[in-house]
Symmetry: C2
Subunit: 111 residues, 2 copies
DNA sequence: GTACGATACATAGATAGTCTTGGCACACAC
DNA sequence: GTGTGTGCCAAGACTATCTATGTATCGTAC
């Protein structure tokens, strides 16, 4: 029974998830969302109304770069790749997530 | 070097952190914030502008109950305790956090 | 005697990001 | 010819956090 993630828990982690996805190669927006959902067994879902604003935001900040191309199924699609600046951001985000997740778990799941 | 948590990463977890804190006994708002920061080695900080609205919200929802009393230092303070409804909510929140954190870590920190 | 930091609560407004909903376009299967 | 999957986009609502500020008391240092 997937979809354990309802409210705004993605807050602050969506960017990192997208950046990390792109380290495996360029992908279009739709493909990014599918990949994240597949990888998390549908426990993290990415709504399109969250995905595209996030992509614009990150492109504006220079973390990713976009280019129009053709999808595997022959459709017009915009492909994103991660930039060097994006990789630095990702590294910082991952460090931050690790610290934060460990801290929260220490409170919520004490031995 | 504490304070690794900047932006709105607390989103969706603050309630659970507060509820969990109260399972160790009734506390006033200020004490809750101090306890969370101490327990996480200052890696999670709780701003007062986030704390008090959260307490009101949870009281309104019946997850916690408030009562005026006197602090350890002899000051007037409002003490909160967790209700049975709050305990059920906490259990659900913890389950949700575990699933979510595991899913995100699977993406961000692959072996 | 006053300036400061810690304790303790409270509110207003800004901010930011996600979610809801809807629309467009194409392809394929039934 | 209808539905489902692919793919993009935008407007607005929503919600929670953060910033900033205010109140008040107390102890301590100067």
């Amino acid at each position: 029974m997937p979809n354990t993630e309802p409210n705004g828990m993605l807050h602050g982690t969506l960017d990192a998830l997208i950046l990390k996805t792109l380290t495996w190669g360029a992908r279009h927006g739709y493909g990014i969302a599918r990949w994240i959902e597949d990888t998390t067994d549908e426990r993290v879902t990415v709504e399109e109304g969250s995905l595209y604003p996030a992509l614009y935001r990150m492109e504006r900040r220079g973390w990713i770069a976009a280019e129009w191309g053709t999808s595997e199924l022959g459709r017009k699609a915009k492909f994103y790749r991660i930039t060097p600046k994006g990789r630095r951001q990702l590294a910082a985000d991952i460090e931050q997530w690790s610290q934060f997740a460990a801290a929260v778990s220490k409170v919520l799941l004490p031995a």
